[in-house]
Every structure is written in structure tokens, then in C-alpha cells.
Subunit: 217 residues, 2 copies
């Protein structure tokens, strides 16, 4: 965010903490582990942050900001069509989980380590994110293009599926990012019983259309 010329140790600490939190969990990670991984001394951490918890909060905050940033950007390009808006949110979420899997794992698993106040604020942001899916789905149902009888369960499935991407996606694996996003959008459409507004031909599953997240081509 305010990242003009951040000192080296700062970013190293954030990266080290992210890596440790993501694969051992917040509680299982000691600040000595973090400092060692960052290549600085134990008390360097306290030069930048008031403590271990603040590191987690910074990671969660930045992660949420980046996620909402991606969603908003995708939604801005999507226009008003509910199907395109849903595709934007699904695409942005799947993409974020894949591209920033370390942050995603922390967002998904470690928020419970926050104290009550911060946790409930975090849960509120989670609800906002859920709301992005819900709004697009509700609008699509109101418009008659999403025909599923189970919009809530479909939404939960879609979100769960996007979130799980963080656990298995490897950027060097066999699934390129664009294919991943397209598939997840297509599968989300399938789940929602997407029917085009003025259909010339009925698609068997759902229309594999643009994701609404590409910046060109």
C-alpha cells in the first residue's frame, strides 16, 4: 500500500512470517522461526511491529485489500450483466487463490488466531466477499439467467471450490492460470444453471464464455 522504499528487513519479515504461518500455522510458528527465516535477529521484528500478532494482522489486512482490489477491478470491467459479474468474482477469487496461495492459506485458516475484536472485523470483510457472490447470483436469478433451485448451496460450493485452489494449485503445474479461471467460471455457471438470455442454442452444460477478468485478448 504505502510501499515506497520499504526497508529490506520489513519485507523479509513479512515474507518469512507469511511462509511460516501458511505452512505451520500461526500458533505453531515462533517469532524466532520467523526472524531466522528472514535472516534478521529476533528483536528486529519488534522494530517494525509491536509483536507477533501485529504481523498476522498486517498479513491478513494486506491480503484482504489485495483480494478486494482484484474483485473490484474485475467487476469494473464486467459491466452490469449478472453472469459477467459472477464470472468476474469467481475469476478474481480463483486467480487470487492461485497466484497468492500463501496469503490465501493464512486468510482462510489463521484468522481464528486474532483476538475477538479483530476477528469479528475480519469476519465482516469475509461476509462482504461472500456478498459479492451473493449479489451476482441473486441478480442472475432475478433476471432469470441462473436457474438453480439451490442458489445458497451453489454459492457455498463455488466459494469453497475457489478457496480450495490455494491448497492444490501450483504455478508450474499442468494447469495454466487462464485455463483454471475459465474452467472455474464454466463450472460455476453449470452449478447455477446458467441459461443465456436470448439463447439460439441450448448449451449442454453452460456457456464457456469470457471470464470478465482478462485485460485484453
Amino acid at each position: 500500500m504505502s510501499a515506497t522504499r520499504r526497508p529490506a528487513g520489513h519485507q523479509a519479515l513479512l515474507d518469512a512470517a507469511s511462509a511460516e504461518f501458511a505452512d505451520r500455522g500461526y500458533a505453531a510458528t515462533s517469532i524466532r522461526d520467523i526472524a531466522a527465516r528472514a535472516g534478521v535477529s529476533l528483536s528486529a521484528l519488534y522494530h517494525y511491529y509491536p509483536g507477533k500478532q501485529a504481523l498476522l494482522e498486517a498479513i491478513l489486512h494486506e491480503g484482504m485489500d489485495a483480494y478486494f482490489g482484484m474483485c473490484e477491478e474485475a467487476l469494473a470491467e464486467a459491466g452490469r450483466d449478472p453472469a459477467r459479474r459472477l464470472a468476474a468474482v469467481v475469476g478474481a477469487t480463483a486467480r487470487y487463490r492461485a497466484e497468492r496461495s500463501v496469503a490465501s492459506l493464512i486468510l482462510i485458516n489463521e484468522a481464528r488466531a486474532l483476538p475477538e475484536r479483530a476477528r469479528s472485523a475480519y469476519r465482516e470483510r469475509e461476509r462482504q466477499a461472500t456478498g459479492l457472490f451473493k449479489a451476482a447470483i441473486d441478480d442472475g436469478i432475478a433476471a432469470g439467467i441462473f436457474t438453480t433451485p439451490y442458489p445458497d448451496d451453489a454459492r457455498r460450493m463455488i466459494i469453497a471450490a475457489c478457496n480450495a485452489v490455494a491448497q492444490w494449485y501450483r504455478p508450474d503445474g499442468e494447469v495454466p492460470m487462464e485455463a483454471l479461471v475459465e474452467r472455474y467460471v464454466t463450472l460455476a455457471y453449470t452449478l447455477l444453471g446458467y441459461q443465456r438470455r436470448n439463447p439460439r442454442a441450448r448449451p449442454v452444460h453452460a456457456a464457456p464464455v469470457g471470464t470478465g477478468t482478462e485485460t485484453s485478448n
Copy 2:
């Protein structure tokens, strides 16, 4: 399992440890928390288990056994039809996640606390569970009744969705268990592009058929 007349403290410790592990995480839970919640002293734990980790292993082991038990029972009733077998696995998984959400949360989130050896054994059992889905899906595709172009992604979505049930389902909520199972099976069919073998009429989404897990009615 070998549970004829288990001493009171034993079960109290398992229940307390499950509750604490599920909502704070293994690493964040101290054995004093567990003992206090179980209403016994700290060292009672060591009377039954060699240590904290053994408690986790016992919970994971029992949880996995119970899960596979439910899957096998459902599969035994399902016969050989891939669609019914898939329904059995989806139904058993969703049901298990809902009925045993505490154990499920530990199974899903806390296995990383195991040491390398036990963890890889655990991951192998997870792969077996994934294999139950994969086998049914592959068979259905070979039989031509599942028509999705993305069977692997559909499988991951289905599994992720079932797993997520543990996070939101409340037995006193508005969704009764049977409805939950039926919906998840239906949505799984939708994702897989299920087409009946000898179709008289094409369903718009997928056929809301029996789940293959009910024992009667």
C-alpha cells in the same frame, strides 16, 4: 472401536481435546486447557496417552475410520451404477461433515501438526478418500453418463464443497440433513453433467434422485 466400558475420563479427554483442537487449533491448545475442559487433572492425560500428539492421532484415526465406515456402508448399498456410487460417496461425505463437524474440522485442518511419518500415512488415507470420488467419476465418464469436460476440477469442487459443510452446517439450522445430502448430490450431478443412461426426458439441471445413503423410505 474397542469401546466396551471406557473409563469416564478417557472419553471426557477425547471430547475436550476434540472441541479445543477444532476451534483453536492443535498448536494453540495447551494440555492444561484440555484437562480443565475435561474436568480432570493435567496428568490424567498421561495416564491414557503418551502425550498431546497421541491425542491428536487418536482423534484423527478414529475420525478417518468413522468416515471410511460411512463411505463403505453407503457404497455397499449403492450397487454398481457409477451415478449411485458417486451419490453414495458425496452423501456420506456431506453427512459426515455435518454430523461430525468437530472431528471433520480437525481432520481437515490439523493433520499438519503430525510429524512427518504420521502425516504422510494420513495423507495416504486422504488420497484413498479422494480415490472413492475419482473412481465413481471415472467410471461414470467411461459409461457416458457423466459428460463434464473437466472431471478433475469437478471432483475437486465437489470434495471442497462437502468439506466446507463442516464449517457452516448447524444441526439446529434451517437445512435438515436429508435435504442437505440430496442437494449436494444433485449439485454434484449437475457439475458432472450427469445424463441418465436411457433418458426419456432431459432434466434441465440434473435428476434429483435418491442419494443412495438412506437406509429406508
